[in-house]
Symmetry: D2
Subunit: 269 residues, 4 copies
């Protein structure tokens, strides 16, 4: 199904790895909606994953870039501006990694070197990408920038460990950079707060399957799938949401607004 919502729009999608990636689904849906885009991920991810299958399928090109490296991002944007012969319209940031989670360290016992790395990859990379795009004036008026987040930024989910704090930081970046993009370039910046999704990154979270099950059971509409997520992000890249900016938007089946209900009480019995 296609509505041609992104006809003529060009973008960069960060973070597609394999068909479970949210960025992968966004790329597929953006392609269906007639967008052109560049796929990017770290060289290591490009080797591990199947991104070239995606690029073939979506007639897009792949440019490797480590999103924590200023020079990599600069090269990426330079190439993008040349490739498209002009500015782009949208960016998806779907990048998150916590070594502390992988190493099964609990929140009070995290390692601070891992923390610095995880923060740089999961949060600061979003600032770096926008800074380079800003310096190069790479985004068209009424463009749209989206980063993915999770409600652990607002409430405690112990299994998200330090990722919770990165997501708070990421959402803060969206608000703060969003102000400047808004006043100077009429570009909007938002974060989308998703249901948990079983991606490669999520697989490293201990007890993730229980987590997924509970989240689904407690969400009045069930978990939003990566497909649901992609559909929603398409609307944020389209021209129909031009005045929505600096927001954190829940696409979570209602999970964020539930309290104690029969479903929760029934768990107890």
């Amino acid at each position: 199904m296609s509505y041609n919502l992104l006809m003529g729009k060009k973008g960069i999608i960060f973070g597609a790895l394999d068909e479970n990636s949210i960025a992968w689904k966004v790329a597929e849906r953006a392609y269906e909606e007639k967008a052109s885009f560049i796929l990017t991920n770290t060289p290591a991810s490009l080797r591990m994953g199947k991104i070239y299958d995606l690029s073939k399928k979506t007639k897009s090109i792949v440019i490797p870039a480590d999103a924590t490296s200023i020079s990599d991002i600069e090269i990426l944007f330079d190439k993008a501006l040349i490739f498209f012969g002009g500015k782009i319209d949208f960016i998806l940031h779907s990048i998150a990694m916590s070594i502390n989670i992988r190493k099964k360290l609990e929140y009070p016992c995290i390692n601070y070197d891992f923390l610095k790395k995880g923060w740089d990859i999961s949060a600061v990379s979003f600032h770096k990408i926008m800074k380079i795009a800003w310096d190069k004036k790479a985004i068209n008026k009424w463009g749209s920038i989206v980063a993915l987040t999770y409600i652990a930024s607002k409430r405690n989910f112990p299994s998200y460990v330090d990722m919770s704090d990165y997501k708070s930081y990421l959402e803060s970046i969206a608000r703060n950079f969003g102000y400047f993009w808004g006043i100077k370039e009429k570009v909007r910046v938002n974060t989308v707060s998703l249901s948990p999704i079983y991606t490669k990154a999520a697989a490293s979270i201990s007890g993730f399957k229980d987590f997924l099950y509970l989240s689904n059971k407690l969400s009045p509409l069930g978990n939003a799938s990566s497909q649901d997520c992609a559909d929603y992000i398409i609307t944020l890249f389209s021209d129909l949401t031009r005045k929505v900016t600096m927001q954190n938007l829940y696409n979570d089946g209602g999970f964020s607004k539930i309290g104690i209900n029969e479903c929760l009480i029934s768990l107890k019995d």
Copy 2:
């Protein structure tokens, strides 16, 4: 411009009066996106306004109904189910009225009879509409219900007087009824929090033009117009936002996320 986003969808739009009404723009955009719908408003509003011009333009029918009257709403839904030969997919609630505002009463001095009336019209009507739709099982799976609100529900805007409290109540209804719609019928319920818009209702607010000017100046992307608002609501009625529910969504040019900035400081000089 049309994406056929609402192809095959049927709905009821409450609250169109004249071409400045937000509901009016939503109707125009919904028509462009290929929806069929019924327009409704109170008999008095139908006489005062130009709704029949809109119904002609959008090939829709008009059914008068006072949204505070259970029997009126029942008749409306009965007729809608017959007219469409089945259930509907979307509802827009764009109804708000405060006699206290019209009478220029300040918040500490409101009249409680006016309050009861304003609350019933502006907030309880939303519950009543959903209750009748619920009882009659009138909404298709994955349907979408939207009510319009303003940030005065969260912060103090003295010129909104008692309307601020109605909007808090309205947003609460969306969350609470949204839970039941979600678990039983897979229907979503959201409120959209808009920039101020110069409608007939707004005209009764004292100092509204200054208000509009300041809001526009302080919003990084400027105020969202009723056109912007209509575009956004189309995405919420479409199949692309199926898992978004029980949310209060700002379409406000970023106003809700600003603090003290140069623009505010410059006012001072």
Copy 3:
């Protein structure tokens, strides 16, 4: 234990019924902290409850008043001003009632006559009390007004039915009246959002004991008791919190900030 935190302060406490009432504990603690106050409740509640035991214990007087009746509240404030020989310093609003809950009606099936009554008692009464106090200039500079609320105002708790919406409205009143009290009289207005507490009113909520159990289990510090609640409210009446206003303050053992954790996951097994 006493810190003399309210030495010389005078107030009115609405809503004490029996020793399970939160207002009862607040009165006891306020007395220990050296406040003088008037106890008030409806004539019917005065008959049913044990308020005269409390008044004896706390050397306070009882003045009957229906908090939905403007004339009752006027008489109450007139008497208070005479009794104290001057203005008062604090007010506690601990009033809530839902006939829909008592009648075991679910949220989508509420009765609108009951709704009007419940809204008037549980929410509008707070406005009425402040309006009369405002008109009579009955509150000293740096006075403090507190109303009690519950997190059902922000998220869905189906068993709170229409009380959820009243609490949203109540919190909105606090913000909006708080602005006027602040600028004109240097008086602060806040709501305190509590853990569930097994009061007479709570007893009418279906499944309240399960609810209480779960809330306690999920709150990192356990539920706040009515004693904890009273202690907290004392700080809000004291001179140590003079610049805290228009806030909704959680005294809930951390419940409002939890997501999915081991305790929740363990329920599932």
Copy 4:
């Protein structure tokens, strides 16, 4: 004036520099309320500031520690446990520094080495302090940990530059560590969000005086002073707020809840 609210309580206060520091006022008030405590700051700050005047005045000792250094914090807690002959009851974190602000760099142009340093000092230090306290089991049951923050964590204040993001991160740490402290040790963790205050750190923010003026004018009760702030923090260290945890609490004269009002409109004229 003293209520003996902290009689018998022991703590550590981070961040007092001179008599404009918020931590300085907290120390003075804690002393009046009969607490014993250790003052700490970096060796450089100890040289620059007047902390020994404060220690004399409050009969406290000074232990130098760089709050980004694990070994410094370990030594500090070891000494504290010996000095007090047992666990402590409260911690104040009042530490914030942004080189990007000092260097007058705007948000889109920040330097990432400065960022790493600022983040470590202003936010991660709070995690480090709690981690060492956690490992050493240094805090008594029902202890209280407070960090200071600003509303720039939630909305955009361009002059706060990267400090805004640090404060978001800091508040997130409070929530996440607060969960563990709660379930294991019955200790609470909160952040207090203050009015702007003219401290040494604030002096480096460009246009801070205009900022202070506007904030004061727009806050219904005016800005909270450092004295107001200290009073409030005393209540959070006392036994009267035992069930308040994982919260971000505004002590800001109502600033956080204002929208567009006459005062704002009058600026325009």
